[in-house]
């Protein structure tokens, strides 16, 4: 019985009346819930939508969308300096995703076979809780100042990998912890070599986690700015480019509006697809 039902119990003796009351209470409560939830979602998505609208405004910083224009998009097409950072970002994120998938699979497999994986997992997942600024500065100090290395794409990769790996590991761990290692004994008993056991049994059963790990790693890497800024050397990724443009004296802001709108249209569908894959597909298998 709900709290509302208990409440009405004392006041109303007629069961039929009571039922009506309860239903009214519940209806009000769920209306409030929908309102609050809808409001929260609006807070998230309306600014994004507004940004997309303002990318068509002649003067986005004025706050008034009118008059509408596509001049900023034309500017993007004419000034192609952003293409290289975008391609760099896509390639780099793809590599980060791939390496994360492999590393997370290996570590998760090891974790479920260890008798006490606690400390190992804690150390592996800890970068989740280290602020980006701290991690970026720490990497810069040790790589550039201590070891005197020339920073570049490789150090951006390293920083992004450190950032994305814990998430990837969590994704694979969720699936791996439910994996029944007795299935491997059964396969071995049926004559499967270690390699066949891995490919035929383990990989298909861990696949949802591995793919989820790849998608998350890609998105985290693609949007990463804080750590990359410290260790970029002479190289530029898409978020770094946007950040430089937004911070520069000559107002490139209108272009940023258009550019981020485009990025949004790339990342949102990927995010949606990944959630669908992880929560719908994974549940079915």
């Amino acid at each position: 019985m709900t709290a509302a039902a208990i409440d009405t119990d004392n006041r109303n003796a007629d069961p039929a009346m009571r039922r009506v009351h309860v239903r009214d209470h519940l209806r009000t409560a769920s209306r409030i819930a929908v309102l609050l939830g809808g409001g929260a979602l609006a807070l998230i998505y309306l600014p994004l939508l507004w940004l997309a609208v303002m990318s068509f405004a002649r003067n986005p910083l004025s706050g008034i969308p009118m008059p509408l224009t596509t001049m900023h998009y034309q500017a993007i097409l004419n000034d192609v300096r952003w293409v290289k950072p975008l391609l760099t970002s896509i390639a780099l994120s793809a590599i980060v995703a791939l390496v994360c998938m492999i590393a997370a699979t290996l570590v998760a497999r090891a974790a479920i076979r260890m008798r006490k994986p606690g400390v190992m997992l804690l150390v592996s997942l800890a970068p989740l809780f280290i602020p980006g600024l701290t991690m970026g500065a720490a990497l810069f100090i040790s790589l550039r100042m201590l070891m005197n290395l020339t920073l570049g794409l490789w150090s951006i990769f390293l920083a992004q990998f450190i950032w994305a790996f814990p998430f990837a590991l969590l994704m694979v761990l969720i699936v791996a912890s439910r994996f029944d290692t007795r299935l491997l004994h059964a396969a071995e008993d049926l004559g499967a070599t270690p390699w066949q056991r891995f490919w035929d049994i383990e990989v298909p059963l861990l696949r949802p986690g591995i793919i989820g790990a790849g998608i998350f790693a890609f998105l985290l890497s693609f949007n990463e700015l804080l750590r990359s800024l410290f260790v970029r050397g002479q190289d530029t990724t898409m978020p770094i480019y946007n950040w430089i443009m937004a911070a520069s004296q000559q107002s490139q802001v209108p272009i940023i509006f258009a550019l981020t709108t485009l990025v949004l249209f790339v990342t949102l569908p990927i995010t949606a697809a990944s959630f669908w894959y992880v929560f719908v597909k994974l549940d079915k298998s």
């Binding site: 299935l183 396969a187 008993d189 049926l190 004559g191």
Partner: protein, 363 residues
């Protein structure tokens, strides 16, 4: 057929020892299985029977063994995936991401059998376990009994020298278990394969096996046909495990032809020694009788060749088809299962049984 055809032995284990830390799971176990035999390894949990099975399949490597031969070939150092034997696991361990037929053909797939041939062999195996119509189902769509049969088909499809069955009926309810016992025997007859069957149920062992190995504490307690273990237990442990209700301590007083004479407190009984020469005159022995072989009555039995003791009725429990009664004698409490109500009595009376139904074994 390999070398095994010469001596007919599919499995040969000599002096296997296995330890987990300081715990000795197998203590000098030797056994053989003949081609086509249904061999049951019977024992309680912790008796070492599952360890023995894992040594045979290769999922565990023995601490020490003199010989471990499958089909005439020593496989002591052969990894599990290269041994010619497969297992039906208690927990089935079916692959959840494969369909029924994909599960069944997996053993052929890893052996490199062509897709078309392995599919047809898997389908005919499913025919044998009466699941051909469900070959494209997912594992989670099957009932417990159906999963059990898929696991069975998956294990026998590669035609191993030996099929190992690890308590395969343990997870089924009683009705299904009895049906599957019959079905397993039928499949065994049909395939002509050597079955090594692990169970803790003496009923399963007696029903299905050609031969039974009873294990306790990592050792073999007795080996024999089901009737041997049931009727001629050679130790108190075996008699107790096989459900012999009445076990009394006595002293052997005389060897005499077919029967021996045993002193039980103030009276003597005659019985047969379960193994010739296993007890000397004067040594302590155990006398065992099954409850259903004991009769009771107010008067002593008319036949003087019967063993008979005097006592007082302690309890009488009505069980519908029969009556469970306990009579207290000077030698100890005797349990009897009475099928006719004509022998009812109160207070003091007699219990008697035939010397043939009285097993004498070393204490």
């Amino acid at each position: 057929m390999n070398k095994s055809s010469q001596d007919g032995l599919m499995l040969e284990i000599s002096h296997a020892v296995h330890r987990y830390g300081t715990f000795t799971a197998l203590n000098d176990v030797s056994l053989v299985a003949r081609a086509g035999e249904f061999l049951t390894i019977l024992g309680e949990s912790g008796s070492g029977k599952t360890t023995l099975l894992r040594l045979i399949s290769g999922l565990e490597h023995p601490y020490a063994v003199e010989a471990l031969k499958l089909d005439g070939v020593d496989v002591t150092r052969t990894p599990a995936h290269q041994r010619n034997c497969t297992t039906v696991f208690q927990h089935y361990a079916l692959f959840p991401h494969m369909s029924v037929v994909e599960n069944v053909e997996y053993g052929l797939k890893v052996r490199g059998v062509a897709p078309a041939e392995r599919r047809s062999r898997a389908l005919s195996a499913l025919e044998i376990v009466r699941l051909a119509n469900k070959h494209d189902r997912r594992i989670h769509q099957l009932s417990g009994g159906e999963r059990q049969r898929v696991a069975l088909a998956r294990a026998f499809v590669p035609q191993p020298a030996i099929l190992l069955l690890d308590e395969p009926l343990g997870a089924l309810d009683e009705k299904l278990r009895i049906e599957m016992q019959i079905e397993l025997m039928e499949i065994h007859r049909q395939l002509g394969m050597t079955f090594v069957y692990i169970t803790h149920s003496q009923e399963e062992a007696l029903t299905m096996s050609d031969r039974v190995i009873l294990m306790t504490k990592g050792r073999i307690a007795q080996v024999g046909a089901p009737a041997d273990l049931f009727d001629r237990p050679e130790s108190r442990f075996v008699a107790d495990f096989m459900g012999m209700e009445n076990l009394l301590e006595g002293r052997l007083v005389e060897h005499g032809g077919e029967h021996v004479t045993v002193a039980l407190d103030d009276t003597t009984v005659r019985g047969r020694l379960s193994r010739q020469g296993s007890a000397a005159v004067g040594s302590k022995v155990i006398v065992g009788m099954r409850a259903e072989r004991i009769s009771m009555g107010a008067e002593p039995p008319p036949d003087a060749t019967l063993n008979s003791v005097r006592g007082t009725l302690r309890s009488s429990i009505y069980r519908g088809k029969y009556l469970d009664r306990e009579i207290e004698t000077t030698a100890g409490v005797l349990k009897a299962r009475i099928w006719s109500s004509s022998s009812e009595f109160e207070g003091s009376g007699y219990a008697w049984w035939r010397p043939e139904d009285c097993v004498v074994m070393p204490a």
